[in-house]
Amino acid sequence: MRPAFIWAVITKEARDLLANRLLLGAVVLPALIFASIPTGIVAFLEANELDPEQLGQIGQYIDQFPDLDPKLAAQGFIVLNFMAYFLLIPAMVPMAIATQSVIGEKTARSLEPQLATPMEVSELLIGKAIASATPAVLATWGVFVLYGLVNGAVADPVLTRLIFNDVWRVAMLTLVPLICLLSVMLGIVVSSRVNDARTAQQIGGFIVIPVIAVAVAGFFSGQASFTMEQVLIADLAVAALIGLALAAGNWAFDREAILTRLG
């Protein structure tokens, strides 16, 4: 594996992405939209008196925050509970970039000249994977920081501390990049076999969303947030899946099959 080749692919892909404003918007906007929903609810609660009768099911969860008054506990539960979206975004957005990258190259027939160079297929795949995953990781981190600061400012600094807890900091630093990479690898595998970006994203989404949804549902059954143990187990599981996806990528991204299928 030669870093110079991987870096060449990354810089080329970054230039491509920066020139594609629509795709760039698709990286940041979903994260901002998801983050704005709980922030809006927190702001609404902050602006209104909280009637304990209206807490409903949330009432059983706010007991997890015994040190906070009920209103702040409800806000705390909401900001933490919605943070699952910070895992769904890296699962979906990088796949869009990766499928666009591979399908775009297949359509433009720019894969053949690259495959005719001394670059290994695995180097091309890794370069593409890193280049597709990085924007989503950075966008997720950026929106995560914004989420913590804005909710703290809107309601109470306690919310900032709740959001930036140890578990979520570890999840952001490890689980988010790993999920991004898994999403990208699956996007590359799928898009190497089809010639239409929308079809690739639909198939890819079909694979990724249940995986993440099951994980998220499991983690959130009866608890406001993850435990550190759950995050570390998820890290290992996703890393193993990346290994499988990389092997599948090398198989699916067969030089000859891609060239001959393109005519």
Binding site: A4, F5, A8, T11, K12, R15, D16, A19, N20, A108, R109, S110, L111, E112, P113, Q114, L115, A116, T117, P118, M119, E120, R255, E256, L259, T260
Partner: protein, 318 residues
């Protein structure tokens, strides 16, 4: 040097190429000439190491196809059938990217990019995105990309397609300089004029090589050439036919449209003797020219007219 030895490529039941054997020496331009679907691109892809042959092998400057693929990629430059550029990047960025993939770095890479942008006449637009380029400009960038790393072996698939006559000549001249520099060059084309102007030898292909020779010898593949002798004066051309039939090197002679049409096996060797004999017999000659068989005639003779070709293809598939 390129040595193709019995290459065969089958895609399931379709045999794209079979029994393909030829050599291309250092400093030689070899043309693969054939109709669409003749297997030219598949052959080049095999020789470039992009796809593996079903049978047979090839040696590229001594490197074995399949075993030394990475080294073959390093020493070969491939102009693909379509330019395949990165549309959002500038011409300079496109070339810079490929230069890095061929291991070029820093000032050397920048110099090479500048040089080849100049060679293909795109120095002024090097910083423009290729997405806005015309077909011809894209083809020029693709040519520069194939040559940027100074490859020892060059594969050019339809190099002058989409180029205007002036740009096509520039490219042909440049390819000739590559030949003079000792590179082995394979050109795929179905452009007969280009093949004739550019190639030292031509292989006419339809899944396999039907004929390989120099353009001049291919034109004379039927064994003789027609020499047209134009006469003036009182004597009718018919009066020289008996005389000509006695000459040992004359294969046939007749009068066509008021001129003598003489078939000889070697015009360069036989014409002086032919002219001397006619002059001594009192003929007043105003012109002698070879009525050459065109490469197109040879090509059509070998691969068949389009109608025949389709019928044959259908028959083969059935």
């Amino acid at each position: 040097m390129i040595e193709a030895i019995g290459l065969r490529k089958a895609f399931k039941s379709l045999i794209a190429v079979h029994d393909l054997s030829f050599t291309v020496s250092d400093g030689e331009i070899f043309g693969l000439l054939g109709p669409n679907g003749a297997g030219k691109t598949t052959s080049v892809r095999m020789l470039a190491g992009l796809i593996g042959p079903t049978e047979g092998t090839a040696r590229i400057n001594g490197l074995q196809l399949g075993h030394d693929s990475q080294r073959i990629f390093s020493i070969a430059g491939v102009l693909t059938e379509t330019p395949g550029l990165h549309e959002k990047l500038t011409a300079r960025q496109n070339l810079g990217y490929y230069g890095r993939l061929y291991g070029m770095r820093g000032a050397g890479l920048r110099r090479a990019v500048d040089r080849y942008l100049g060679v293909v006449g795109l120095a002024d637009v090097g910083d423009r995105r290729v997405g806005g380029f015309s077909k011809g400009m894209r083809q020029k960038v693709a040519i520069a990309r194939a040559l940027l790393h100074e490859p020892e072996i060059v594969y050019l698939d339809e190099p002058t397609s989409a180029l205007d006559p002036s740009a096509a000549k520039t490219v042909r001249d440049f390819v000739a300089t590559l030949r003079d520099a000792g590179r082995s060059i394979v050109v795929c084309t179905h452009n007969l004029d280009e093949a004739e102007r550019l190639c030292d030898r031509i292989g006419i292909m339809r899944a396999t090589l039907l004929e390989v020779d120099t353009p001049a010898r291919l034109r004379r593949r039927n064994g003789s050439a027609s020499v047209r002798v134009e006469l003036v004066g009182a004597r009718r051309p018919e009066s020289f036919l008996d005389l000509l039939s006695d000459l040992p090197f004359v294969e046939a002679a007749r009068v066509d449209d008021g001129t003598l049409l003489v078939e000889v096996s070697d015009p360069r060797g036989d014409n002086p003797e032919l002219v001397r004999t006619l002059v001594e017999a009192g003929a007043r000659i105003v012109g002698v020219r070879e009525d050459a068989v065109t490469l197109e005639q040879v090509y059509l003779d070998l691969v068949g007219e389009p109608g025949q070709r389709d019928a044959r293809t259908i028959g083969e598939v059935a």
